[in-house]
Each structure stands twice: as structure tokens, then as C-alpha cells.
Symmetry: D2
Subunit: 352 residues, 4 copies
């Protein structure tokens, strides 16, 4: 018996999730869809047998046939929907960022702690990407010794007009801000922002360079370049005492023609991370199914991936980056103490 998913927000990302759930995920089906644009909701719902459009997010959250919620609406609306879902006792997968501000993320942490269990998974899909997963496996194997340094490049071919430097941080860099500490097994303790000064426009500097300082002093240097022009590309190399591990280029074929050997880049993140999104969704669905059928796992909740605490950490670091951008220089990063709920789950996973 499949679980029923309700999707809030079916723009590019949400519609992609609806399609993936409906064509490539075991154990789940989309049953309801809401979007601020009713015609878009109707169109997406009509593409899926058994799915209906609903006229409000709240009615979707409360819908009897909806067992779990996927939130892919505008960032500014994330927190309110997540909080409603927690109140309704329904598991949530919320696209990143969990919320644009630390304050909103803290409200979500409070709500989960009052509920006594984790209900919210955050859409940091890179943790499911086969490349990053393999990097982590190799790191843990010790093949490069202790990691000390990392180089990341995060390049988008283009962004919509009206884009700002802050959007690059909150929407793009937040992936590196999440995945690099996860790979190193270390928290961020400081950040430093730089940019080529030739790249100044009033509100949009591109490329940017972000240095993350991790516990024990490791440095992560991130290039963020969202109008790089040539394609979508994510690179990452971790440098350890004895060697390095890097993401290999992804291309299924090589073409020789016109005096060149050529491989193609993805045009955007959906092509590059299609498999990561599929695994993220399947993992989340598996977690929800397991939670619903198994009483003894109740205390950890339905989460099967990055949780609200990870979302909060992303927001704290992102805010520090924006301060470094505004005022220049290194900014320290401080998190609230890890609440018992999240500590307990991390301890349990470390034993697993």
C-alpha cells in the first residue's frame, strides 16, 4: 500500500519532484498538489493519475489522503508550512533552505522538540549524490589520511534577472555549506567572503569566493559563479595528508569531431543531480513507511536524511557569510547547543 504525498509548490523544482515520485519511486504516490498559481497546480495534478489540486496549503496539509508533505514553495513560505505540518503530525520533506532566517529555523527546532520527535527532513540532496557518498566512503576508509583542505566550484550557466549576491549564498552556496561539514565531520567555526573586485554591480557580484573554516582548522575554499556561461558544473576536491579525493567528471559519452574531443555539461542542476533527487525522495519515502509501520522507532521520527538541525546550521552559516559580505573580513560562527532530541538521533546513527 503506497503512502500518499501532498506537494506544496509545483514550480520547476516541485514539478520535478512530482514527476520523480510518480515515475521512479517505490511505495509512494502524489495525491494532492497546491500552488499559489491555481492553474499550475491544476496542470501538474492532471499529469498524475489520482492526484488532485487543492485550493490552499492548509487544506492540503489536513487532507486525509495525504500522509506526508513535500514543500517546494517560495523560500519565504517554508517555515509556516513546516510548522503547520508538524502541528498536523505529518512528516515533511522541505526543500533547502529550511528557512531564509535563523529565527525561523529556531522556531522549527522548538516545534519538533515540543512534539518530541523529528518530523522534518531538509532537501540537501547532495548527501544522496553517488559522487559525494563515494567521497565520504573513501574519506572514512582513510585513503587520504586526515582531510585538511577542500576546493569547491559551484557553477551555474545562468540565473534569472534580478538575481543578487545574497541569493547566490542562500540558494547556491548553502549546498556547500551543508555538504562540506558533513564530509569532514566537522562544524563550521568561521567564514570569510571575497570576490574579484572587477565583478561589482550594485547588488550582484559574481563570481564570489567563500572560505569556510571548520573545527580543527580545516579550510574549505568555495568558488560560486552563477553566471559562468558554459554550463552547470559542481567540482569538489578534498586534500588530505596523503592524497586527495575529487568528484569525477560526469558525462556518458565522448564525441570526437571538428578537431576536438568533447563531453557535455548539464544545462542545470536537475540533470546533474537527477539521481541524487531520486535517492533523496526514495530514502525519505522509505523513512516515512518504516516510521508508520514500526512503533519502536517512534522517537527518531520519519526522517531519513538531513534534519531540521542541519537546516538550522545552514541558516546560521549563511547569515555569517552575508555579514562577511556586508562588512568584510572573517566572521565567527556560533550555534546553539545541540538539543537532546537531535543529539540522541546522531548518537544512535553513529552506532548503526
Amino acid at each position: 500500500m503506497n503512502i500518499g504525498i501532498g506537494v506544496i509548490g509545483v514550480g520547476v523544482m516541485g514539478a520535478d519532484h512530482v514527476n520523480t515520485i510518480s515515475t521512479a519511486i517505490s511505495g509512494a504516490e502524489v495525491r494532492a498538489v497546491f500552488d499559489i498559481d491555481p492553474s499550475r497546480a491544476a496542470r501538474v495534478a492532471s499529469s498524475v493519475p489520482g492526484a488532485k489540486p487543492l485550493s490552499s496549503a492548509q487544506s492540503l496539509i489536513e487532507e486525509f489522503e495525504v500522509d506526508a508533505l513535500l514543500i517546494a514553495s517560495n523560500d519565504a513560505t517554508h517555515a509556516q508550512y513546516v510548522l503547520s505540518a508538524i502541528a498536523a503530525g505529518k512528516p515533511v520533506l522541505c526543500e533547502k533552505p529550511l528557512a531564509p532566517t535563523v529565527a525561523e529555523c529556531e522556531k522549527i527546532l522548538c516545534a519538533e522538540q515540543m512534539a518530541g520527535l523529528r518530523m522534518v527532513q531538509v532537501g540537501f540532496m547532495r548527501r544522496f549524490d553517488p559522487g559525494y557518498v563515494e567521497m565520504q566512503r573513501r574519506l572514512v576508509s582513510g585513503i587520504i589520511g586526515r582531510p585538511m583542505l577542500a576546493h569547491c566550484s559551484h557553477r551555474n550557466a545562468d540565473v534569472p534577472s534580478g538575481w543578487t549576491s545574497e541569493m547566490t549564498v542562500l540558494g547556491s552556496a548553502v549546498h556547500e555549506i551543508d555538504v562540506m561539514p558533513w564530509l569532514f565531520g566537522k562544524k563550521v567555526i568561521g567564514v570569510n567572503w571575497m570576490a574579484p573586485s572587477s565583478a561589482i554591480t550594485a547588488k550582484f557580484r559574481d563570481p564570489q569566493v567563500l572560505v569556510l573554516e571548520l573545527e580543527a582548522g580545516a579550510l574549505v575554499i568555495c568558488e560560486l559563479f552563477v553566471k559562468c556561461g558554459y554550463g552547470y558544473e559542481i567540482r569538489c576536491e578534498i586534500v588530505g595528508e596523503k592524497g586527495t579525493i575529487e568528484l569525477a567528471p560526469l558525462a556518458s559519452v565522448r564525441v570526437r569531431s571538428d578537431f576536438k574531443m568533447q563531453t557535455d555539461f548539464a544545462s542545470d542542476w536537475r540533470g546533474r543531480f537527477a539521481e541524487a533527487y531520486r535517492r533523496e525522495l526514495q530514502s525519505w519515502v522509505n523513512g516515512v513507511i518504516r516510521w508508520r509501520s514500526s512503533k519502536e522507532q517512534t522517537e527518531f521520527g520519519p526522517v531519513n536524511g538531513p534534519d531540521a538541525w542541519d537546516g538550522y546550521c545552514g541558516a546560521v552559516v549563511s547569515e555569517a557569510v552575508l555579514r562577511s559580505m556586508a562588512y568584510s573580513g572573517r566572521m565567527g560562527v556560533a550555534f546553539q547547543p545541540l538539543p537532546e532530541l537531535y543529539r540522541k538521533c546522531r548518537d544512535a546513527l553513529a552506532y548503526a
Copy 2:
């Protein structure tokens, strides 16, 4: 509402399919399992909620909850199970080869023609591999002009003891025998077999070299090396008038250590073609669902990939290769005329 799958044969390949259907396929669930070894059937069934072991293949084929059949038993048993499934009116996905002899394949073609529709899909999963699919897309785009030549390497790290030269052809080369004519859009008209003479043992020569001659004279040169020692690797380059297309190496990470840059090979075909198997199964399930729900598509049946005619062609060419191996020199290849049932479906697909 998911369709119910019954699986005949749950050795390495069948168990892998059971796992994929249960964890990564939308719209289907495994409901019954049969294996010649009852304890193996019981073990695999117990790993899937809702699946039960059955005591005979026939009872599984007739089982009310089983809507469609997946056959992954010993090659010699394929034909009888496929014929029973056709008789029972249930769609089949049969692992390659469809059957080890041309005669058996012809019986299946007859049975489908008498039934008036295609019920059998054959497990030539490479047609679903992202690399081969992309090669085909590029070929059709015309980027390299008319294809004239191809180089293939098919390398397994190792094979079980007791392996024979014939098994390399029927079990390994049959993939190239299927996929290369599909890529070129041309039938095989002749074959020629060679092997380094240093590689002689009584019954097992390795590596082998197979030359396929296609309509219009294109040549496909295949190295088959099933004890290559270093890993599982599939290579393919198609040479056209203006350039070439080749499968790119697959590796998710690169490691620098010990004065070397290293990428890993898969240890066997399951790692290399995991995504192809997933897409093959999803495509087949989609075809079965569409067929069951849509009256007007009845004449094409539930097949959504290579069909029994493709399986028959593979058997015809494989037999010619075995003749070239036994008697040396080029052997011509002749197929029976394409029956109306299969021609009609191919015409329809060409319009699609």
C-alpha cells in the same frame, strides 16, 4: 494500485531484480517467487513484505495475484516458462538470452503470433543504459555522419570454473550482438570469429574477437575477454564519416595517492548496469500498466523495450558465431522474414 510481479529464478540476477522492484520501482511489487532451490525462494521472499514463495513455476504463473512475470532462471528453462506465460495471458520480462537455441525462440515467435500480440520483453538492458541511449541520440543527430565501424570491448574480471568459449558468446557477446545492430539501425549479415592462438585451452578460449558485418557493410569489432583480471568494463566507440562517439568512463570519484591518479572499475555487471536495470524494469512495468489500462493499445501488447523478435535475432547471430568458432571463417547470417506482428509494431514505433 501496484501491479503484482512473480519472479521465476532468484539466483544472483533474479534476486537483484527482486530487490530493485521492491526498493526503486514505481507501480509494481513482487508478490510471488519460485526457485528450483526452495530455500533460496523462501529466503528471497522473506526479504520483501507481501511476497510469498511458491512450490512450482506453473503455480506461480497461474497465481491470481501475479499480473506479470519476470524470468531469471537457468537459460535452458526460459522457453518453457515463456510459453506457459503466453498461454496464461500474462506479460513476461525474460532475461537474455530469450532461449539458447533458434528453434526455441521460433516457438515463442509462433506462440505470440497465435496470441495476436507481443507479450514478451527480453532483458537486453543495455538499450536502457544512459550511455548507449546517449550514443544513439547523438548518432541520430548526425554529428558523426554515417557510422561505418565500431570497436567494442566486453571485459569481465573473472568467470566461474567450468566456463566455456560458447558461454562467452551466448551469455556475454549476446549483449553486443543485440545492441550494436540497434545502434546502427542495421541487421547482422555475417560474422567472423578469431582468437589469439595463445589463448587455447581445451574448451575455453579467452580473449575472443568477434567481427559482425552489418547491412550496408559496416563492421563491428568486439573483443570479449571474460577473465581479464582487472575489473568489469564495457567500451564502445562508433566511427562515422566525420567523427566518433564513445562511451565515457564511469567513475564517481578520482583518488590521488601513491604517485597515481586512480579511478575504480566496477567488480561486475550489476554495478556497471544498475541504472540500466532500474530503467529496464521501470519501462517494462510502465508498459504493463499502460497495456492493462488502455484498450486501444492492445495490439502492441505490454512490451516496452526489446521483444521476442530481438531475442530471436540474438539467437540466430549467436548460432552463426558458434559455427564460425567451430569451423573458422566468415559465416553468413539469415533471418526468417519479419512477421507482420513485429513489423507492425516497429512501423508504429518509427512513427512515434
Copy 3:
């Protein structure tokens, strides 16, 4: 004190050699130049301080200031100039092929044996290419076990009009015909020629496929494609019992632009093998200098690379290929017994 070089034939290849000797070789200088086109000889000579054009090949061979000869004239003239040089007692580097026919090569072998020492080096420059040299080193190290099979691709972007199938064999394939037996340490014992039948014009078939059968049964499969359109590329992979060694792609930079990662191919052999030509010339010059200054090495002569026997072997195999092309099917290859002069030098080198 530099040795003086006389160059016969200063078309594309000869002019390239003159330039290399004058700008990148230690211990030698070009002192005289002859070409069937006197204006070309004059032009090339004027580009090198101290070089003069001469009006006949014979006068150049006899010129007092010319210590050694480089022959890069039309293939059909090679034998006569080489024989004159031997008669004059001057070392020769002769571009490949040593001569277009076996009969001419045999005359050269006779002349050297009568002279009692090797005077002639043949321009099989691949033996000096860093890639092939490294392949040989790895083979000898045993890293892939016994070699059994090889795949070669020899692709030119284009050839002049009037090109024929035979020219591909004598001018292009001869490089594989020389270097592959050298890598395997085995003689050719049979050849088999094939071509896509779609590639027929009256006199020029392209691509061609050539199978060389080596002693102990190893097979070398060579694609020869001289109007491949996309660039100049030489590929080679040797397959052994435990692994393979292949030439790595050569490109100094990678460019990302227009949704592609790109590396460039050389436009012709001069770019691809510039370093091999430089090393070939330096090695030959070193051999000549050593020979002139060292009495005890007299019996081996000034040769410091492939010799006339290697040139003869190339001609024997090439003729067999032309027979296979003309009459179809496998052709055996037989060489005359290795004369004492060449055997002695090979033995001495094997001890070195």
C-alpha cells in the same frame, strides 16, 4: 665540433627535419640540401646559417662537409640514395618506408652486409615517442602479464586527392607494422585485411581494418582511417592477462565553454609526434658522433634506432597486406633468415 648533415628531399617532412636539427638538436648542423625542386632547396637552405643548396643528390652525398645523410625524398627514390650513401661510407637516416618494395630493401641489406656494418637507420619515429616508450617499459615490467591482443587506431584528418588504399598501407599502416611487433617482441606471421564494404571507391577504401598475427598467436587489430575528418589521432591499447596499457590522450589544456569540456587534437602527425622526431634525430646524431669517435664500436656502425632489417620487415609485411587486400583472406608472412650482422647487433643490445 658539430657533425654536418646533408638532407635529400625538403618537402613537408624534410623541411621539418631541417628545422628541428637547426633549432633543437645538440651536436649537428645542416650543411647541404638537395631537392628535385631547386627553388625549394634554395629556400630551405637560406633559412639555415651555413647551409647551401646543391644541384644533385650525388654531389650532396659526396660533399666533403657532409658527414651524414638524411633522406626524406619521394619513397621511390629512397633505395638508390641509401645505396649511394653506403657506397660513400656515410651514415644515413632514411624516412620510412626504407623502400616501397621488398626487393629494394634486400639490396640495401646486401650492401650493408658487404660493407660489414650497419649504416642505415630507418625513420620509424614512434619507437622514440614518449608514449610508446613508456608502454614498452610497462610491458617489460610485467604489470599486465603476457600481452595477447592489441587495438590500434590510426586516424588522419585528411589526405591529398589521388590517395589510394595502397598508400594508406605503405605510408600510414607501416608505423603500426613496425611498432607493434617491437612492443610485443614478436614477429608478424600472418595478416588479414578487411574494410567496411560501404567504403568502396574505385581505388581508395577508407577506413580499413588490418589484423596482424604475431608469433605465439597474439593478434593486433588496426583501424586505419585517413580521412576521419575530426583530427589526427593515434590510439593503442595492449591487452594482457592481468590488465591493459594504453596511450593516454595528449592535450596540454582543457577548455570549458559552450556547455562542453573540450581538448584539441593535433591537425597532423607533425604536432603529434614532434617530440618523437626530435628524439629520433638526437639519437641518430648521438650514434653518428659516438661511431666517429670510438673505434671499438665500429662493428655496429652509427645506427642508434631501427635499422635496415626493421625497414625490410616493414616492407615484407606491407606486401603481404597488399596481397590480402587484393585477394582477400589471411596471408602468411615469411622473412629471410636474420643475417649475422643484424643478429649480432640485436644480441649485443639485448645484453646492454
Copy 4:
């Protein structure tokens, strides 16, 4: 007629240069050698026909048969030998750094200006490396638009005991400090030094990260890691408005074995930059020959590559890096005004 070279300092680097001049350079020969260790001088001299060891650097500088000087002695001695050579009117190729301090470099600039011509070329060999040269060619072609950012990794497998952070800057980073402004066509205006804090020992931090700020605001991020353990590797990617250019990996062969595809790294800089050193030496020799034979070029002197001003710039930036290392934070970089002598030559070259 070859020019005669005298070499001061024949340790690892100097002996390598002696060998290259004697075996692979046109137009020059080593005639005298000095080393602080007389037995080393004698040993190296004995390996080259016609070369003699001399008992003092000054006698070598004054030696009649020595036309030009190559200085590869201890860094601290560079300035005095260079000044003596200028006084003697003999061209110099001085290994990098020109001198360890800005003050010494300024003395050399003065001496050249008083002499009225450039006599000193500095051994920044990367400007002759085929990869960097090709990067520059592509940059100038405009294929990536205006360059804005660069990522460099400079990794040595190991360094001798007693190595210090300063030695990494003066001996290793100085290559990036020279070649990156050359590629961008922009001067350094600021530097910023960082290091993973986990990498602290009393005097040797490794890896280090160096940020160079160029005119017009471009940023160059350099990782310097001299005990990286896995091999010698130099990487460089320049990021422009429309794409990027990066050095391609250098390896002549690829080996498949043990479930891995492998390419080798060089063990040290000599293997990696052998061709750059050869071209550097040939270019310098060509410059010296041209200068000696051509009166009208006298004002530019014999220099045919980076000159003393480039050496001075390297020293100025290196000192700023050491200040940033000692005191933390960004340090501005200021050069003295470009003297007329050097400006004039640069203008002339820009027209060439």
C-alpha cells in the same frame, strides 16, 4: 660555432641543466663548471666532453672560453654572481629566485641600467612550459572572455627535513607569483596568506593558501602543499566570463589493473617540467647567439625570456607574502616605477 656556457652550482638543478645543454640544445656547449664542492664540479665536468672544473666562480666568470653564464648555486649567492657577470659583460641565466631579497634584486636592476642593457634572464621556466604557453594563447584568443579568477595547486611529494614555511614561499610559490600575473597580463597589488590551523608546527606550515589580488581586481587562489605525499602535481584553472581554461593532466600511458585505471604522477619537478627547461635553455641560447651576431639588437641585450625586472617583481611579492604570513591579513604590494630600460623592451615586444 657553438657558444660556450659556464655553470655555477651543479647540485640537482645545475647538473640537470648541464645534462640538458650537452644532450638536447642546439648551438651551445658547457665549457666550465664551478661548485662549492670541488669533487662535485669535477664529477659533472668529467661527464661532458670539453668541459673543465674551475676552482672559483670568479675565474669561471672571467674564463675566455665562457661566453655566457648559468647560475644554479645556493639562492643566497645569486646576486653576487649575477653582478659579477654583468660587470664582465657576459649574459646570465639565473635560476629563480633572482635573489632572496628585494634589496639584492634592486642592485641588479641598477647594474643593468648602468650597463645600459639587459644581461640577465631569470629561470621562471613555466613561461616555456607547453601547457602554460597554450593557456596564454587561448586566453589571448578570447575564448573565455575576461579572466577573473584562478585556482592553482602546487604540490610536491616531499621536501627535505629542515624545510620552513618561508622556503615554500620563496622556492615554490614564486613560480605562481611569476606566472599568474604573466598569464593575466596584470600586476599583483595585494596578497593574503592563510593555512589550515591544523597544520601548525613551529616553523613549517603545510599546506598553505595564498591569495594574490591582481590589478583590476582578479583573484588568484594558490594551494601550496609541499609534503602532499602522493606525487608532484601542478594544476591551474583560469576562470573567465564565458568559460575556463585549465592545464590538462600529463601522463603518457593509462594502465588498467587491480580494479583500477591508473595514470602516474611525476615524482618531482624535473620530470614534470623537463620540456619547459629544455625550451627555456634553447630560448636563452638563441637569444645569446642572436645578440652576439646582431649589432642592432644591442639595446635589448641577450635576454629571451623573463628578465631581472620579473625577478624583482617576484621578490617584492614574496616579501609581501612573508609579511602576511607573519602578521596576518591582506598586505598591499608596491613596485618601484618601471625603469625606462625594461619599459622600452616590453613596448618593443608588445609590437613584435
